[in-house]
C-alpha cells in the first residue's frame, strides 16, 4: 500500500472508531441525567437502575474515548507533521479548550459515580448535567477544528506561511458552528436510536418489563428529538457549504455542470468521465431552492475546477445519499412514533412497533459514519481547503502500512471489548431484588 493511502487509511480508521466511542460517550450522560431526574420525580426504581447503568456506560466510554483521543492527538503529528507545523498554532486553541472540557467531565463524572450517597440529591443531578454539558462542549471544540479545515479563517498567508494568526477568529470559522451542532445532534440521534433499538429487541425477547420500557422511552425521546432538529441543522449546514465550499456541494450532489435552477437528486450514480449523474430521481429546482432558498439560484458545478482537484465524486455522492436517506427514515419513524404514542399510549409494547424500531435503530450510526465520510472525502484533495493539499502534509516516514495494520488490529480489539462490556453491564436484565429494594443497588 502506498504511504499516502496508508496514512489516510490510518487516520480514517482511527476517527471512524473514535467517533463511535465519543458519540456514545457524549449521549449517555444526557440519558443518564434524564433517567435520574425521572427517578427523583417519580420514585420509580427502574429509572434508578437505568441511571446507574448508563453512568457505568459513560465511565467505560469515557476511558475508551480518552485512549482513542490520546492516539488521535499523536497521530495528527505522526501522520501529518507538515500540517501540524503550519496549522498547529492556528487550531491549537479549540484543542486546548477541549482538554479542559474533558477534565471537567472527568471530575464531575467522579462525583456522579461515587457521590450517590455523599452529596445532596440536587447536587448529584447537577453533576450529571455538568457531565452532559462538558461532553457536548468537547464534541463542539473538536468539530470546530474540522470546520476550520473546511473554511479556514483567522490568519493571513505571507510568503507561504501563516501570519497574523487570531486563534479565536479561527475557531469561529463559518463551517465550525453549523458542523458542530450537526455533529452533536448526530451523536444523540445515533446513540438514542441504537439504545432504543437494543432495548426494543430485548423487550421482544424478555417480554414486558419496566426496565426495558423506560429505557426505550428515554432513548427514543433523545434520538427522536435530535433527528427532527437535525433537518434544520442539516439545512443550515448545506447552505453554508453552498456559500463557502461550492465545489464540495457540487460533489455531494453530483452536480457536474454549472446551472441555474439546479435539480435536487435522490439516489443516482455519478459518472465523472461522462460528467453526468445518472439514474437519479430529480426534483426540478430542488437544489437551488435548498441551497439558497431561491428556485433559480446559480449552482456552481464541478466544471469550475480542474478535474485533478475533484474529490472522489462517486463516493462522496453515495455517502451523502446514505446519510440523507437514513436521516429521513429516522425522522419519519420519529414523527410516526410521536403521533402514534399521542393517539395510543401503550405503543411501546406493540410487537410490530418494536420490530420496526429494531430495524431502524442502527441507521443513526450508519448516517453518522456516512456523514463523516462526506465531510472528509468531500474536502479532498485538500487538508486545509484550497490552501494545503493532503499529499503535501503527509509524513516522510516509510512503512506507514505497518502502523496502519497494527493500529487497525488494536482498534478492532478495543471495539470488541467495548461492545462486550456494554452488552454485559448495560443492558443485562436487572435482578428482581434490584427493582424491589433500592437499597441493594
Amino acid at each position: 500500500m502506498d504511504n499516502f493511502i496508508a496514512a489516510r487509511s490510518q487516520m480514517g480508521m482511527s476517527l471512524a472508531f473514535h467517533i463511535v466511542f465519543a458519540t456514545i460517550g457524549v449521549s449517555l450522560p444526557l440519558m443518564m441525567t434524564i433517567a435520574e431526574w425521572r427517578w427523583r420525580s417519580t420514585g420509580d426504581p427502574a429509572y434508578l437502575v437505568l441511571a446507574k447503568r448508563w453512568a457505568k456506560g459513560t465511565t467505560i466510554l469515557f476511558a475508551v474515548g480518552a485512549i482513542s483521543g490520546t492516539v488521535l492527538s499523536f497521530e495528527l503529528g505522526l501522520l501529518w507533521p507538515r500540517f501540524m507545523q503550519y496549522a498547529g498554532a492556528v487550531i491549537g486553541m479549540p484543542f486546548s479548550l477541549e482538554g479542559f472540557a474533558f477534565f471537567t467531565e472527568a471530575i464531575f463524572l467522579g462525583i456522579y459515580l461515587y457521590g450517590w450517597n455523599r452529596v445532596p440529591g440536587w447536587f448529584h443531578l447537577l453533576s450529571g448535567i455538568i457531565v452532559a454539558i462538558s461532553g457536548i462542549l468537547s464534541a463542539i471544540f473538536v468539530t470546530l477544528v474540522n470546520g476550520w479545515m473546511n473554511t479556514p479563517t483567522g490568519f493571513e498567508i505571507v510568503a507561504g506561511k501563516f501570519e497574523n494568526i487570531h486563534p479565536f477568529v479561527a475557531m469561529s470559522n463559518p463551517a465550525g458552528i453549523p458542523e458542530a451542532i450537526h455533529m452533536v445532534l448526530a451523536a444523540y440521534t445515533a446513540a438514542g436510536f441504537a439504545t432504543a433499538g437494543i432495548h426494543g429487541w430485548l423487550l421482544l425477547r424478555r417480554g414486558r418489563n419496566r426496565f426495558d420500557e423506560v429505557a426505550i422511552g428515554i432513548a427514543l425521546l433523545v434520538g427522536g428529538a435530535a433527528v427532527l432538529l437535525q433537518s434544520v441543522s442539516g439545512d443550515a449546514l448545506a447552505r453554508m457549504v453552498a456559500a463557502k465550499q461550492p465545489m464540495k456541494l457540487a460533489s455531494l450532489e453530483g452536480q457536474f455542470q454549472t446551472e441555474t435552477g439546479a435539480p435536487f437528486r435522490i439516489g443516482g450514480l455519478p459518472f465523472p468521465d461522462e460528467r453526468e449523474t445518472k439514474f437519479a430521481i430529480e426534483i426540478p429546482h430542488g437544489l437551488s431552492l435548498l441551497s439558497f432558498h431561491s428556485p433559480n439560484a446559480l449552482i456552481k458545478g464541478l466544471d469550475q475546477e480542474p478535474e485533478s482537484d475533484w474529490p472522489n465524486v462517486r463516493m462522496v455522492h453515495i455517502c451523502f445519499q446514505i446519510m440523507v436517506g437514513c436521516g429521513s427514515l429516522l425522522s419519519l419513524f420519529a414523527v410516526a412514533a410521536g403521533w402514534l404514542s399521542w393517539k395510543k399510549r401503550s405503543l411501546i409494547n406493540h410487537p410490530r412497533f418494536l420490530k420496526a424500531l429494531v430495524f431502524v435503530s442502527p441507521l443513526g450510526f450508519v448516517a453518522l459514519e456516512a456523514g463523516w465520510m462526506v465531510t472528509e472525502l468531500g474536502r479532498q484533495p485538500w487538508i486545509i481547503y484550497h490552501l494545503m493539499r493532503t499529499k503535501d502534509a503527509v509524513t516522510s516516514m516509510p512503512n506507514v502500512t505497518i502502523t496502519f495494520l497494527a493500529m487497525t488490529a488494536v482498534y478492532v480489539i478495543l471495539g470488541t471489548i467495548v461492545v462486550w462490556l456494554l452488552s454485559r453491564h448495560l443492558i443485562a436484565a436487572p435482578e428482581g431484588k434490584q427493582l424491589a429494594h433500592q437499597g441493594v443497588l
Partner: protein
Amino acid sequence: MSTAVILAAVMLAALVIYSLFGGPDYGAGFWDLMCSGPRRQDQRDLIASAIQPVWEANHIWLILVVVLTFSGFPAVFSWISLGLAVPIFLILLGIVLRGSSYVFRAYFTGSIRTQLFCGKIFSISSSITPLFLGIVIGAISSDAVIVKDGVSENGFLGTWFHPFPLIVGMLSLSLFAYLSACYLTIETNDASLQNDFRNRALTSGLASIIFAVLTYVVAGNSARPIRDGLSRVPYVWLIELGAVIAVLVAFHALWSRRYLRARMAAAAQVALIVTGWGVAQYPCLVRPELTIFNSAAPSNILSDLEIAVAVGALVLIPSLILLLSVFKTQRKSISAVADTTLD
C-alpha cells in the same frame, strides 16, 4: 519573562503532574508483571484496586502536553513526530493495549487463563509506555533529532536507538516503578503486603539511582550540552540538592517503614528530577536546534493559550477541590460504595 517561557513552564508542570499521577499507574502495571511469592494474587488485587478509580483519566495530562506543544511550539511537535515516530508509535500501542487489556481483565470473569493472558498484556504494555516516554525525553535531550525539509536527518532509528536515550528510558521506567511501589505501600493495611512493596520500592529506587548515575556518565559522550546544563543554569543546583534530600528522606522512611512520608518524599524526588531535566534542557526543546524562542508560535497565540489555561484552571481547581472534599472519607469506604453503585 516571555510568554514562550511561561507556556514552556506550564508544559513542564503538566509533565510533572503526569509523572506523579500517571507514572504510578504504569509502574503498577510493571509490578503486576513482577508479582511473585506466596502473596502473588493479593499483590495483583491490591494493584487492581489502587488504579481502578482513576483509570485512564490521567492521560489528560499527556494530551495537555501534546496539545500545548503543537499549539505553542508547532515545529517541535512536527520534528518529534517525524524523527521519533517509532518510539511514539510504540507509546501509543502501549497506551491502547494497556487500556483495553486492563478493562477486559477487570470485567472478565470467565476462565483464569484468559484473565492471566490479559494481565500479561496489561503489564507488558504498561512497561513499554514509560520506557519509550523516557526514550523520547532522552532523544530530544541529545543532539540527534534534526528535521530538514520534512525529512529526518538521522532516519527513524538513529534518532533514538543509542545508549543515552535508552538509559533515560530505563531511568523513567525504574522511577515510575519506584513511585508506584511507594504509593502501593499505603494502599493496604496488610503488613506483609506493605512489606512486599517496601522491598520493591527499595530495589527499584536503587535501580533508579544506578540509572541516574549511568545517565550522567553516558551524557558525557553523547549528550554533553544537557549535562553542562545541569551545572550552567543558575539555581539548578538547588533542585539537585532538593532531589538528593528527597532520595535520602524517602529511603530512610522506607527503611523505617514510615510509608506516608516515603510516598511524599518519593513524589517530591520524581517531581524534582523531571523539573531538573526541564531546567537543564532550557532554553532548548529539541536539542540542538529548536529552542523555546525560535520555535514558538507568535506571542499573541501564546498569551491567548495562557489565558485559556488560566481560565481552565479557575474552573478546574475548585472542581477538583470539590471532588476531593466529597471523598475526604476513607478510601476503603469509597471502593466499597463504588462496587455497590456500579453493579
